[in-house]
């Protein structure tokens, strides 16, 4: 790809030469079925093309004053403009970070630092991503405070408790995930933002599972996302800080990215992230309409065909691509390995699959079964045949594990 074509990929209408044929990847029944897009979606073909082109064209430091640097600066500016347009914000409100985690850490710590005169309390839901919770722990360890707001059995925020929490004295920032990354329940971001607005508290929304898939309601002050969740390359996060938000960088000073995140950017990856975000956002409604019925099918068939299973999360207000269930008496790690041997890549919130050997804090907050847990998340390459094969094989895999453990009939 030429340099001008690369710039065009960040501004031209989607389609045309970017057209990608899903059926060009033959899928036979024995081929691996990747069902963990919520961890990392396969690289979008637009991202791949843009990345390869930008490796040739965007390696220089965009901050320098020579031809190669100006070229890199053009690419960075175009990536920022494209991302801002997709998100409906101003370009100078968008910063690219080295990861979604770094963006979330910056959102929390910077939002708290910017409002330290208002107080030192962080309000957050019980089902935030661990990146947000770890930043909250840091805040508490350095003398701050936090208030955790519970969710119900379906993983929905308790809005009454949220509203009371953000109205309390000394609240500097509130954090709410747009939709649960573990169970898919979409959160009442609009209502939560309204409560924050009434209380004069800025709202940070972790939109990692929403950006590129579903719209995020307005009303937030800070938003973060992660490129490899939408099919961009790993190693690119988004930190969006709306004008007028009191946000102060928690990092040592660095002039890059509006002073919001230090260090040289991985510019080729940023360009690829921005190009693929445009592409997935253009297809988001159609993809949601294609994937949501597959998720509904998984929810219905798993509940009907696997005995003693708990399908978790809100049945209606949910992400279009993510579904979670727990199988009674089954070891989650054994289930993941058994599925992997049959070619299915999924993730789990069970304690035995986590490095800390603790169950998912999201499943715990909801009060649902945490062992034998499987999270299935779909993406643009997932076919109906993939889902059917999974649904056909799952009951036997679970039955075999239960038979081996001697728990049939309990």
């Amino acid at each position: 790809m030429t340099g001008s074509a690369l710039l065009g990929s960040l501004s031209a209408p989607i389609g045309g030469s970017w057209g990608y044929r899903r059926d060009s990847v033959a899928c036979v029944s024995a081929s691996p079925v990747y069902l963990d897009a919520a961890t990392a979606a396969p690289l979008h073909p637009v991202a791949r093309q843009a990345l390869l082109a930008a490796l040739d064209d965007g390696w220089a430091d965009p901050g320098r004053l020579y031809t190669q640097a100006r070229r890199a600066r053009q690419l960075l500016d175009a990536a920022r403009a494209a991302t801002a347009e997709t998100l409906g914000v101003r370009p100078d409100e968008v910063s690219f970070t080295p990861s979604g985690t770094a963006a979330a850490h910056g959102a929390v710590l910077g939002g708290l630092a910017g409002r330290h005169r208002a107080g030192r309390v962080l309000v957050h839901s019980a089902i935030e991503h661990s990146a947000v919770l770890h930043a909250a722990e840091r805040h508490v360890a350095t003398g701050g405070a936090s208030t955790e707001v519970p969710v119900d059995r379906l993983g929905r925020l308790d809005l009454a408790r949220w509203s009371a929490a953000v109205r309390a004295p000394g609240v500097a920032l509130a954090a709410l995930i747009a939709a649960s990354h573990e169970v898919g329940t979409v959160q009442p971001v609009g209502e939560a933002a309204g409560a924050c607005g009434d209380a004069g508290v800025p709202l940070f929304v972790d939109a990692a599972q929403a950006v590129g898939r579903v719209p995020v309601p307005a009303g937030w002050s800070v938003l973060t996302a992660s490129a490899h969740k939408w099919g961009g390359p790993p190693g690119v996060g988004l930190l969006v800080v709306r004008k007028g938000t009191r946000w102060e960088s928690p990092w040592p000073a660095d002039e890059r990215e509006g002073g919001r995140t230090p260090g040289a950017l991985n510019l080729p990856a940023v360009v690829a992230a921005a190009a693929s975000l445009r592409a997935v956002a253009a297809d988001a409604a159609a993809e949601a309409a294609r994937l949501a019925p597959l998720v509904a099918r998984i929810r219905a068939r798993v509940a009907a065909e696997v005995p003693d299973v708990e399908v978790v999360g809100d049945p209606d207000h949910r992400l279009p691509h993510l579904v979670t269930f727990s199988c009674l008496y089954v070891d989650g790690e054994a289930l993941l390995h058994a599925l992997d041997r049959r070619g299915f890549a999924v993730s789990s919130g069970s304690s035995c699959t986590s490095s800390t050997l603790r169950p998912s804090h999201v499943l715990a907050a909801m009060g649902v079964l945490s062992h034998g847990n499987v999270r299935v998340s779909l993406h643009r390459e997932t076919t109906e045949a993939d889902v059917e094969r999974f649904l056909t094989e799952l009951p036997g895999i679970v039955a075999d594990l239960r038979a081996a453990a001697g728990v049939v009939g309990l």
Partner: protein, 77 residues
């Protein structure tokens, strides 16, 4: 709180083993019986109440004593 009729020592066992132990033993005891499951796996705190709800038994509560966390369950049917 009703004193437990029996204590299942599941310390050192990882989930789902404490839940399985409760599921094996409870139906062998009369309806209304309370058993206590000693379990130090953190997942037990989530999964024992969830199992009670799924199976229609009563989760009486969590007791933390010198032997670590314990979970009381009453057979309901």
């Amino acid at each position: 709180m009703t004193a437990p009729a029996e204590v299942l020592d599941c310390r050192g066992q990882r989930c789902p083993l404490p839940v399985i132990a409760a599921a094996r033993r409870l139906p062998e005891l009369p309806v209304g019986t309370v058993i206590r499951v000693l379990a130090d796996d953190p997942a037990a705190a989530v999964d024992i109440p969830a199992w009670c709800r799924m199976r229609g038994h009563e989760f009486v509560g969590t007791v933390t004593g010198p032997d670590g966390p314990a979970y009381d369950i009453r057979r309901q049917h």
